[in-house]
Symmetry: D4
Subunit: 212 residues, 8 copies
């Protein structure tokens, strides 16, 4: 058994009514947890809003959530540099929460502005798992990973042009990070990073509470 | 402070005497923990054996360890298919232990022999973090990740020929894994996987012991 | 002579009326066998339906078939994981049947759900040739090829994003399969796999019937 | 059960004595069939010759065979252009025979000499499965596949320089073959092609003999 | 001086009226030769037809020609397999003629149908320079180059899908051709091949006529 | 018949005695023309020198020539920038001469020294076909091709490091040349360029002599 | 402090009203300098023109500038071959000026027309930093860099087709330039080149004026 | 004339005696400046030391310098993370000095140790041009470029393994740097960066001295 894992609808290539139907069905069979839909087109988002008033739709992360996750355990910090990477960061944050972790979103933290990174160091240290989202050269995970010893999942994004080759530059940068303890997921895969980080955070949580 | 992280000598490009000297110096300044040297040439391994009789040298993983890690917390399972991937698996296992986690090494577990995978399922489930090492098509993490909900770090190896392109095929396979909760490190980077997994395992450990 | 091979219209880059006309002409000159059209746009499918009421149009596989194949010999099993790979699997299945083989379609069989794979093992074993369709990391052929000794043609699909690089990850994975007896066709080339597998199956068929 | 498949030792990365020992052990446990070792270094070939006088060592294909395959069924034709591709062709031929098929080796058949190709057409047609080995531009499978309707496995080789990129040019050429019914294995993977083709040929055999 | 070379308008990225204006201006300043426009959009073709009734517009090759080339010398044969490659073959043929050579267009000549290739051998031999256009695996130049000793310029096209990678497979195949005397131009560059071949043919021509 | 084409031994992968024997045999069967051997190791060059005193061995181009080409017709100019590209230029020059053309070798002509290029313009113009050899960025063919209207075959070399990727940068540069009338052969393929250019030059020659 | 650097709005992915608002805000807080917006869609350009009548909008370079840069120091020469590369050259020129340098734009200077390059040599020599923009084979920086000793920033553009691979050919060519003193920015990154060159030029300026 | 530029011998592919002879000749013809030799093998370094006692040989950067550069003007700061990148950093530093600039070498400055970067900020600010050398993910230029407004030339190195692909990861990272004002040279090209930076620094120098 994998307590905390949620049911998910992968919206890419599905029609709006297929998404609505799958959300309804999964919610009916898993009433005690949240159901997540990702990669929703604008049309699918509108169909969910219209058909399922209880669903929470996020147009930035292109997700919909129906139902509530159970007790949240542990904390995932999602770190991103700017607005371009926001959709991937939002997908990661929503996923981590639906998969059972508290989420701390830290934005506007870029490589070219070290003081902002240094300023959030305590929040980074307090997390049980970090998700660091970056496009272009993908250097942010190295900088963050050099500061704190928390497990860090890096998410390259397809943000960039020319020699970014659709996120390849960021992906290769992250795989070659000189900071140890950095692992990487697919380009734009906020969902995968969210699942991974929530699993780590949920396991880590009792540590904080063991004296309670 | 990052309790549990060890000092490390990256042996690639260093002379045998540089390796010996660095191990000695780091051991002197960190007497209460283990010091790790990786990527050692045969010459460097011999120099360490000769000069530092207390060091444990592993010719398979090409590592040397001087000193003892502190109390081990949590368990990392290292899974690999065969003898070709053994050096990377050994580097991962030694690193995870030096970085403070118990290690369970599970070998001869390949995609083309599902019964062996199914047979070790309980050991997989019992771990706090999995390291799955695979070359060629790199499919093992998907199979293992489909069985258990434990955080999983995949390590592609450069084992293969032709269209494996030095590990690229395995790397891409792992990044595209259909099993969620899989993250990836650089080709042949057993060290990075070991650091990452030990950090996850150390955090997870108190859970098992909280009633004690 | 290549008994069993069918005439084919490759629909990509052809106008609807060109497709209709070619189907008609080929059917007239080959009345005793089926004629196949592949890669049909929605417009071409509609034109075929309107002009040739006897044609069987498959909107999933984007094919049209006019006429009946002769006696089917041998069995091709087409295995695929999910709905995203369905168009390629359907193209393969239709092609194999038009080229003279019985077809057994086995869906919802994915790497991350081994029990379903194990559950269809007898159907896999009973086939004369397997076509295994998979996108993303393309690991399914290795798993299936590890279970049975039937000749296996793997078809990578362009399903995926980011580091799937349009099917490259699946292609490389399949070429590096650790299961022997796996051969590979071009990305999304259900047609080529169908031709190949039908040729194998037609040759194999007498084995099953030799005591009859 | 997979009647006809043989036990195999993959010699790459194994010491000569490991190869000898594995051959002996597998031969002892499978006395009724042949055991194959591939990718043998010159040293391993010499060790096998010295220790196992009954073994047949092929320095061109870098293989050793101990024991005899059972009754051979069906015919695999192995087609190659020249001496550069000979090692891969030899590995394919030996493998196909050890895996239970008759083998017809057809050499000196190149794209730039069509008359030789046309001259062997009957032998091509008589085979149950073709293995076509080619380096550089890898065009031979298209030419052969345009002549006959026999299932064809293409093996790209790493023969070439510059923009052959270690066999990539031949691999891509074969994957894009305009002749249908062509499938492809990894660069230099004569072994995989041999297993595949032998499985096809063994199944096809009864056809030839059904009136007997 | 380069007698025979024509003025050219590269239509990509130009508006219809820019194309018309450039054709008019160049024609006015070079009244004794033909002016060529390539890569014309449908809109640009229509604008040329409307504004310049003397221009010859080719919708297949997407070219327009205004004025007449001078005396044609030598012969360029343009060889292509099928309708998909027709636009590139047409661009090559028109360019070669505008640059001063007679052109012999030979179509429906593919690798998978050797008899048709053999059937046009005399026309191939009679040319002063060959242009061979092919997509997918790009094998046709090797086959043609193996038959005749005429200088041969190969043009890879972007026709194909999946592992054709936009013409890369054909390009690499042609660069690695086992037939000597094959040179290659950029993917889809019928224009460049036409200029090159016309220059060769114009120089070769006097040979044929020297006894006159 | 292809008057002027010579017999060739491709030395790569052949033993010194194989090379000697092949040269002898081909020379015996083609006494009236020259026989060429390319890609000779130092050992093969020494064996040829020792066994065949009449052979002309070129250690720079790694070639050996036995016998004399017939009457030379037309002129090939071989242009190269410096000493690094000299082996490829020498292979091209020797090949062009053995295949029946006069050769004019023009060295020390680089992109970064335009005055030297401008200074040899008349020799460039006087040639019937140009071979331009360049490594690194491969820009020389564009510069030369912008000056003269002679057919130009560009040969990229593997000279360079880092992002030259074994000649890929030069190859791509030449394929994208903004000068029309440039065609390209494989990386380091001086032989192929020599065959091509000699064929062009031999055809062009009578022009110069037609008044004679 | 970085005197001379300007505030910038990166327009890609921003709505027209976001662009307008950011320009206004930054202009209000930095009244003494110019504010630059790049990568503007046609819609954003129209919105800026309508809302900010003082802004200078350049539809070629897709930029808008609000306010005036301070005293210009030093000169940046922007060199480009033709109209296709004009957008990138315009972005570079506008950026360099907004970042505080005089700009000399030199167009119609291509590799295939050396006399035009030689004709502008004095303007090249007079600059403090050169920006050389080129697509296709990207050879222009080598030619210019071979003429003058001024620091040179090369900008590859995505202009081209086929084997230009979206600017990769030009990028690799520039990185491998045989002219020393050439550095390179990302494909189509006129902005980055403009910032870099302006910084160089501003520093260089006092040299020219030191006797004043 | 390019005052300050030096004569250079590129040692790759040259014999020790060729290097010695070229250094001597160039020194004789340019007595008032320094002559530089790069990429020297150990043998060439020894030959230079033996034959030219006045030469300064650097075994780390593999360079030799004969003679003294004239008056140094401006300052180039060379920044590198560690010992692996030291050879490239040393080649850059020696080149910049030989080409006429003062050089400030700043080592042990890595992305994963931000405090060291922040600690050298004044030295970075004081330079006229920065050379930042980094392998693996190549993130250091982004971090440094985010701190100071000095022109910055980034040098990717081939240090790394696996997905560093010989320096490609670092190269792509630097080309996609989110810090503006970063330009890039070829992998391991310390020489090119040194020439470029010295040219910038020499031009900038009078600024510092204009009140003198
Ligand atoms: N954004 C995403 N990226 C990758 N995989 C996803 C994403 N969202 C959902 N998935 C996976 O898709 C599965 C559901 O697929 P489906 O049944 O096609 O809706 C989930 O169990 C997830 O493993
Ligand atoms: N030349 C080869 N290329 C690829 N795989 C091979 C080759 N030879 C043997 N194998 C595979 O390697 C397996 C044996 O591996 P091992 O146990 O390491 O000796 C066999 O079952 C084959 O599947
Ligand atoms: N289809 C084509 N592909 C590549 N280059 C071309 C093509 N058509 C024309 N050109 C080149 O473009 C030049 C004219 O470019 P432009 O001045 O922009 O019209 C001609 O001189 C040719 O060298
Ligand atoms: N390390 C280096 N990397 C790239 N180019 C270099 C290097 N060292 C010298 N060069 C170039 O090589 C030229 C000398 O080449 P050569 O005449 O072959 O010795 C110099 O003028 C430099 O432009
Ligand atoms: Mg970023
Ligand atoms: Mg494996
Ligand atoms: Mg799949
Ligand atoms: Mg071949
Ligand atoms: Mg074709
Ligand atoms: Mg060069
Ligand atoms: Mg250009
Ligand atoms: Mg580094």
């Amino acid at each position: 058994e994998r307590t905390g894992d949620a049911e998910v609808v992968y919206g890419a290539g599905k029609t709006p009514s297929q998404v609505v139907e799958l959300l309804q069905t999964l919610h009916a069979t898993h009433p005690g947890s949240a159901v997540l839909a990702t990669r929703l087109t604008v049309e699918a988002q509108e169909a969910v809003t219209a058909a399922l008033p209880d669903a929470v739709v996020d147009p930035v992360g292109r997700t919909a959530v129906l139902g509530e996750p159970g007790v949240l355990r542990g904390t995932v910090a999602v770190v991103a540099a700017g607005t371009s990477d926001a959709p991937v960061a939002a997908e990661a944050a929503t996923t981590a929460r639906v998969f059972g972790a508290e989420v701390d979103v830290i934005t506007d933290v870029g490589v070219a502005g070290l003081h902002r990174v240094l300023g959030v160091r305590e929040r980074l240290d307090a997390a049980d798992c970090l998700i660091v989202v970056a496009g272009m050269e993908g250097a942010l995970p190295s900088v963050v990973g050099g500061l704190v010893g928390v497990p860090l999942v890096a998410v390259p994004t397809s943000v960039g042009y020319g020699a970014s080759f659709g996120g390849l530059a960021a992906l290769l940068g992250m795989l070659n990070s000189c900071a140890p303890g950095v692992s990487v997921v697919n380009i734009d895969n906020g969902f995968g990073a969210g699942v991974f980080a929530a699993r780590v955070a949920r396991r880590s949580a009792p540590r904080e509470r063991k004296d309670a």
